[in-house]
Symmetry: C2
Subunit: 241 residues, 2 copies
């Protein structure tokens, strides 16, 4: 399809110069929510058309996603939605077991009552989301629990690292979808809070490792290839006709 300058006439009607962060979020959401499947091509020009910007702004965004391991870039070929291997999925989970052990140990040492309260609040929200069949929200809150745990350490750097890992793990979980299994995370989180409340550092660390391992075991690590969808349909909600 040939594009001309007359198209801008329609676009400026609803001024939409999306920021880089918004475009990034749109793409990541599209991937995590399954509107884009692993292996799908992310053409620079095509994405530029979708978001109404030039590929000049698309390219660095794709590189950022590449650093987050959400997309892969093959030189002179283009960008594609990452197809995380089973080994990679295991590696991310193992990394979380290693790093979040240190995190929960530190959190256990410094946790105050209000911190436990915040954690319990998140678990309660998780419970509600689960009851209302709000899978997406529940999924998000599951990650939020671990981020909040990192926040308890009072260390912004640690929180950032954990957030990145959780985000990456979210992608893995979304791709290796689990039909129903997710309740285990609720019990796991409650157990973690109890161990922290007890001030038992070793027990908390042990519980964390097992909790993450449970999440890993609940995944379906068989070969999974979803159908490829077009970029236009994946971002259909952005269109204005």
């Amino acid at each position: 399809m040939k594009i001309g300058y007359d198209m801008n006439a329609e676009l400026d009607r609803e001024k939409k110069p999306l920021s880089d962060g918004q475009i990034l979020r749109e793409i990541t959401d599209a991937i995590i929510e399954g509107r884009l499947s692993p292996g799908d091509k992310l053409g620079q020009d095509e994405l530029g058309k979708v978001f109404g910007v030039s590929k000049t702004r698309i390219r660095p965004i794709l590189h950022r996603l590449n650093e987050q391991k959400i997309v892969v870039i093959e030189p002179m070929r283009g960008a594609f939605v990452a197809r995380p291997s089973v080994e990679e999925a295991r590696a991310v989970n193992a990394a979380r077991q290693i790093i979040e052990e240190g995190v929960i140990r530190a959190a256990t040492r410094v946790a105050r009552v209000k911190d436990l309260k915040a954690l319990r609040e998140i678990v309660a929200e998780e419970h509600n989301a689960r009851l209302t069949r709000n899978g997406g929200q529940a999924h998000r809150l599951t990650g939020e629990f671990h981020c909040e745990l990192a926040r308890i350490t009072g260390n912004e750097v640690v929180a950032d690292v954990v957030r990145d890992l959780v985000s990456r793990d979210n992608l893995v979980v979304a791709l290796y979808q689990r039909p129903n299994a997710a309740a285990c995370s609720l019990d796991g989180h409650a157990a973690l809070i109890d161990r922290i409340a007890e001030g038992n550092e070793d027990a908390a660390a042990h519980a964390m490792r097992h909790h993450l391992q449970d999440v890993m075991d609940s995944l379906n690590l068989g070969p999974k290839t979803g159908p490829s969808k077009s970029l236009a349909t994946a971002f259909a909600h952005l269109r204005q006709d």
Copy 2:
């Protein structure tokens, strides 16, 4: 700060299209080795001239450094060498204490004889570098020890996280380094190896926390402002006349 005027004359004669990774390495090295001081401006055009490329390739590199917190980017103003505050320095060190505790615990569980050998090898190199008054090399190896420790876990993701943290900490140390103090890291590393060899996970974790704390305490956290140098002199070794 004035720049050199004579540097761009003979650059077009050379045939050296450096890769993005090489340019990235050059800039980070220049910052960590002190050839560029915190607050120095990193002009896109100027850097492009230095490396013989267009600013198109410089910009994403600066953004990557920005994500690593080595440079800061102020919108519509430009990129500058990061000037980490004392709080930020403490935060990075604290993050390492938290995360590397998990790392050394995992490493202690799985370490084999060859792994210990590799660690001792690095310590030996550190010792040599210290003897030959090779401060830069010693400094680099100090970080390499921790990266190797992360590598023992067999987890690439963990290794990447640790590498980022070490790189960031290297910048802090380079900025707040006291003239002489650095020998403590040698003894600290040796002690860490001993604890790992003993298989004593708790002792290893304890030693790691104290080792990192020692490094922190050895810094001079008073206000420190180094002299600004020009980009031309900072990358003078790249010139070929």
